[in-house]
């Protein structure tokens, strides 16, 4: 239907008010031939019939009159925005302008937000990449530091191994020389102290590198307790301190725990108590109950203020600068180790009232078989050289070779010695020894390669990796290469003999 005149007029009025249409009629020569609407509204105050349309209306540059199209948002001279429709119509070209300022403002705001967000995202991603890179560099640096410390400690442990070994050898030989024995003890203590410090540095490096350091095995809890007691008794006597050592009535003997790590924690904590206590007593109270070990170490030393308590477990920090020796690592490592063993270490103290270090960790009981017990007994008498078996020792350090030779031949073994991995492979294939003790770090061909070569050539007697490197990765490498067991230097000679006996009898 046709709209009534009044309505049509109303609508036209509305459209005119809202859209402010300006219709330009342009001839073939691109001259303005007529217009309708308010040109001034868009910022064209002085237009005349006959004007060059493209000069006046710059949005018409490049327009040919072949097809209709529209330009949604064109900025006008006065800053308004117009929707421009270009419509060719026979003789003329029509341009229709309508106010789109409001719509422009609305869409501009949305687009602005979207673009800003995209830019932000871009910057963020770039920053993340930078961060990743920086983190990677830092990780690499920290790993390099760890490796450096590990290899440095390795270097230290090798000479210490022979130092400690010869000390115990001489102690056996010098039973009757009281004076010499005292000197020897001094050397022994110094070497053990040095070894403990190196072990702490090394552990700190390993903890920083996230190497897992805990290997729970069946361990004799009572033996550990007695060893700790005998380590500190002479120190207590020397410092004139009372040393009370209590073990609960209920006390499992064989428990599943990392023997070395438990000893290390005990030595660190009890050692710390002795270090800082000048008079009074140090008390160690060990209790085992329902698969857990609880240890309380109390001293009558100066105590630690509440503020300082937070610091004592941090690496390279000590509660005071009292000039005491030590790298300040013992407590921080002990805490980490106790946590890694599944327990907790805490401190209760007050200045002037001494300290109590308390830790608690899982130590489930193991029922050991009669076999194991039998194997643990070391028969060490009446051995004739070579009777117990042939052992090939691949080791490039002469002092350690001699030390091991002494102990193993005393236990009745014949010892073949190789100085490098190449020689080791050759000798092993030629003599088929009952056991190979293989140093992993040797010249020419290293222990890993030699072991792999031997396994590939069908050698299947036990091969024990001897190494000063406690890195888990090296342990895994040794296993992969085909090593039966892995022994960390410094090697306790009695332990080495026991190991040889276990592996050679199991093999026979």
């Amino acid at each position: 239907m046709t709209l009534p005149f009044e309505i049509a007029r109303k609508l036209r009025q509305l459209a005119t008010d809202r859209l402010r249409p300006l219709v330009l009629i342009i001839d073939r020569n691109m001259r303005l031939s007529a217009w309708s609407g308010d040109a001034e509204f868009y910022g064209f105050p002085a237009i005349n019939v006959g004007d060059d349309a493209q000069q006046t209306f710059d949005f018409l540059t490049g327009v040919d009159s072949k097809e209709a199209f529209d330009l949604p948002f064109v900025a006008m001279p006065n800053g308004l925005y117009a929707h421009v429709d270009i419509i060719p119509g026979g003789q003329y070209l029509y341009a229709v302008l309508m106010d789109s300022s409001e719509e422009h403002a609305r869409q501009q705001e949305l687009q602005q937000k979207a673009n800003e967000l995209a830019l932000l995202h871009y910057t963020q991603t770039a920053l993340m990449k930078e961060l990743e890179k920086a983190k990677q560099l830092a990780d690499e640096a920290s790993e390099a530091k760890g490796r450096f410390i590990a290899s440095m400690s390795h270097e230290f442990r090798v000479p210490l191994t022979s130092l400690l070994g010869y000390c115990s050898l001489l102690r056996e030989r010098w039973q009757d020389h009281q004076q010499d024995l005292q000197h020897l003890d001094a050397i022994d203590r110094g070497a053990k102290h040095l070894m403990a410090l190196i072990n702490n540095v090394l552990d700190q490096a390993r903890i920083e590198m996230d190497e897992t350091v805990i290997t729970p095995e069946s361990a004799d809890l009572l033996l550990i307790a007695n060893d700790i007691r005998s380590v500190f008794e002479p120190i207590a006597a020397q410092k004139k301190l009372a040393f009370k050592f209590a073990i609960s009535n209920e006390f499992a003997r064989q428990v599943l725990v990392d023997d070395t790590r438990l000893r290390q924690v005990l030595i660190n904590i009890v050692g710390n108590a002795f270090k800082y206590t000048q008079e009074g007593s140090v008390t160690v109270d060990m209790r085992w109950h329902e698969g857990r070990l609880r240890v309380v170490v109390t001293d009558t030393g100066p105590g630690i203020s509440y503020q300082q308590q937070g610091h004592v477990f941090k690496a390279f920090k000590r509660a005071d600068q009292s000039g005491q020796s030590g790298a300040g690592l013992g407590l921080s490592i002990s805490k980490r180790l106790v946590e890694l063993m599944g327990g907790e270490l805490s401190l209760v103290s007050e200045p002037g009232a001494g300290c109590a270090f308390i830790f608690d960790l899982p130590a489930p009981e193991v029922n050991h078989s009669a076999d194991e017990e039998a194997a643990a007994v070391i028969v060490n008498e009446g051995k004739v050289a070579g009777q117990a078996g042939v052992i090939l020792l691949a080791e490039d350090n002469d002092d350690i070779v001699e030390l091991i030779r002494l102990y193993l031949s005393e236990a009745g073994y014949e010892l073949l010695v190789a100085r490098d991995g190449e020689q080791a492979t050759q000798l092993a294939l030629e003599h088929q020894p009952d056991l190979i003790l293989m140093d992993m770090n040797m010249p020419k061909v290293d222990g890993f390669t030699a072991t792999r070569q031997l396994r590939d050539s069908g050698f299947d007697n036990p091969i024990v990796a001897l190494t000063a490197s406690p890195m888990d990765s090296d342990r895994a490498r040794a296993r992969q290469a085909g090593c039966t067991e892995y022994v960390l230097k410094p090697i306790e000679m009695a332990q080495l003999v026991a190991l040889a006996e276990r592996l050679t009898t199991a093999n026979a």
Binding site: D52, Q54, Q55, D58, F59, T61, G62, V63, D64, F69, D70, L71, P72, F73, V74, A75, Y81, H104, Q107, Q108, Q111, Q112, N115, E116, A118, L119, Y122, A126
Partner: protein, 169 residues
């Protein structure tokens, strides 16, 4: 009125690469570090007298930036005689976008003069686009300049190069 030669020059490139800022520097010799997204088109004119001796009225269309051409963009580009293809040196993406855009423009308008501007040379230490990238672009026989709308480097030159190209006898 004497008939001055006038040509339509468009700015093409991803958003926020500095198209609006380049025009502002060229026409009004100003710069603002505030980012105001262009929506639609803003047309400015400037008459230049290049070496060729012919004066030219450049009708400069500053178009909203995107990494591809919409229908509206195509309409804005109708009848363009030349263009500045703008890239932000600090965002490698914008170079990729520019290469895509150029292909679309070539298809639509054919082989018309253009200058590729790698903008924001004042931030060169943060650039993701390398001199090697730029050399590769120059190897295609393209007119490539590094520019800074902020400091004005090479802005005038870019427009002048286009003007010379457009007024060649």
């Amino acid at each position: 009125m004497s008939a001055v030669l006038s040509k339509k020059v468009c700015l093409i490139g991803d958003f926020a690469v500095g198209k609006t800022s380049l025009v502002a520097r060229f026409i009004h010799n100003v710069f603002s570090d505030k980012y105001l997204t262009t929506l639609g088109v803003k047309i400015d004119t400037k008459t230049v007298e290049p070496e060729t001796g012919v004066s030219l009225k450049m009708i400069i269309w500053d178009i909203a930036g995107a990494d591809r051409l919409s229908t509206a963009d195509r309409n804005y580009l109708r009848g363009a005689d030349a263009y500045l293809l703008v890239v932000d040196g600090t965002r490698r993406d914008t170079l990729i976008a520019a290469l895509d855009l150029k292909q679309a423009v070539d298809r639509m308008l054919g082989d018309i003069p253009f200058v590729l501007l790698v903008n924001k040379s004042d931030l060169q230490s943060d650039w993701e686009i390398t001199t090697q990238d730029i050399d590769l672009l120059k190897d295609r026989n393209w007119a490539v300049l590094t520019s800074s709308a902020m400091q004005g480097d090479n802005v005038e030159l870019a427009f002048t190069l286009l003007a010379e190209e457009l007024t060649k006898p």
